[in-house]
Symmetry: C2
Subunit: 249 residues, 2 copies
Amino acid sequence: MARSSSGESVLTRVVRIFESFGPDSPVLTVSEISRRARLPLATVSRMVDEMTRHGLLARDERRRVRIGTRMWELAERASPMLRLRETAVPFMGDLQSVVGHSTQLGVLDGTEVLFVERFTAPGSVVNLTRIAGRMPLNASSSGLVLLAHAPADLRERVVRGPLPAFTDATIVDERTLRATLADVRARGFAFCPGHVHPDATGIAVPVRASGQVVAALGLVVPNDDQAWSLIRPLQLTGLALSRALSTHR
Amino acid sequence: MARSSSGESVLTRVVRIFESFGPDSPVLTVSEISRRARLPLATVSRMVDEMTRHGLLARDERRRVRIGTRMWELAERASPMLRLRETAVPFMGDLQSVVGHSTQLGVLDGTEVLFVERFTAPGSVVNLTRIAGRMPLNASSSGLVLLAHAPADLRERVVRGPLPAFTDATIVDERTLRATLADVRARGFAFCPGHVHPDATGIAVPVRASGQVVAALGLVVPNDDQAWSLIRPLQLTGLALSRALSTHR
C-alpha cells in the first residue's frame, strides 16, 4: 500500500477523514476535518477532492463536506446488516405501535453494542441510543443480552472491566455483572431500570437466526411500575422476528 | 494522492474493490474480487488485508470477504439520509399495515432514483426495488415524481434520453414523458400501471421538507382495478411525513 512521507498509508488517512464525521458533525469544513483527523490542511484538501470525485464525500453549496450518497450506497447494498434490518423493521413497527415506546435493534461489534435500527415516537421517554451509535455492553439492556450470549473469551474480557457507568444503577461490579448475565440467560431478557438514564428503563431480548443469537431487540420505556408489563410483548416480538430470520428464503 | 505503477490512485482501487460487492454478491473470495475489480490478485490480496485491518472489510470463517461493520457504521452515522429515513420509517410502517403492500422511499441521485428504505410484506406483488438499489427516473413512479420536481437542466437532460424500458408500458417517448411530468406536478402523484412489471402498479408522491421535494414515497400494488383507491392513503402519508420533516427539532 502506498505510503506518505510520514509512513502512514493512504487508507489510514481515508479512514481518519471518515472518522471525523459523526451524528453531531455530519457537515464539516476542510479545516475542521484537518483538525479532527490531525492531518495537514493541504493533504486533507487534496484527499477530499479525490474522495468527492469518487462520491465517497460530497460538498454542499457552501463547499462544506459531508459523507457522499455513493459511500452510503456502497456500504449499505452489500451490508451484512441489510437482511437483519429489512426483516426486523416491520416487527419493530408493530411493537412500537402496540406499546408506544422507542424500540431499537443492536448487534455485538467488538466490545460494544452497535445499534443498527431504531424507532422512536414523539413524546417517548429519553433514549440515548442512535442508529449507528454505540453503547458499552455492561450499561444497556441490549448490551447485557449480547454479552450474556457472547463467546466465553469475549465475555471474560468485558466482565473484568473497565465497566463504564451512566447512572448509580449501571452495573459496574464484576460479581453483579456475572450474576446478571446468568440471570439474562436463564430468564430470556434483560431488565434495566435507570441503568442508562434515571428516567428510563431498558428491556431487551435476544434475536436468534437458526438458534444463534445475532442481535438484541430492546425497548426504552419510562422507569415506573408499568415497565415490567412490557417484557412479554417484547419477548413475543423477539420470538416472531427470530422465526422470520430462521426461515430460509 | 499516491499512485500505483499503473498510474491509478489507491482510492480508485479501494472504490473498485467496494464496487465488486452488491446485493447479489455480499460475500466474495479474493480471486472473485480480483476478477470483478479487474485488479491483480496480489494487489487485491494486499489491499483486502489492509482494508480488513481498518474494518472496512471483514473475513468470515472461510476467509471469504464482505463489507465490514465499521464501513457501514462510518457511512451510516453521518449519512445525509439518516434523518429522512428515521423520520420516514414509522410512517412507512403505518402505510404498510393499513394498505398491506410494499412501500419504499427514494431520493434523486445523479440521473437515477436511489431507494433508501423499503418495507415489504410476505405475499406482496413483485417489487423490483431494493434498499440501496437504483432505478431509471423515467421508468418508476418514484422516479417520475423526483424528475417532475428536479432542476430544469437535469430534467431536460433526462427527458432527451436514452429512456430505458422495462415493459411495453414504460414511458420511453420524450413527448409522453414531458406530458406525464406536467401531470405529476399538477395532480401531486405518479400512477404507473405495469411500467416496471406487467403485474405491478407503482404509485408515488413527493415528500417535502420545508417546501422542497427531498424524496418520493411509493407503493407497489397489484396491477388491477383497485390500485387507484390507494392513491389517497399514499398522499395522506406523504403529507404527514412532509409535515414531520418540516418540523424543526
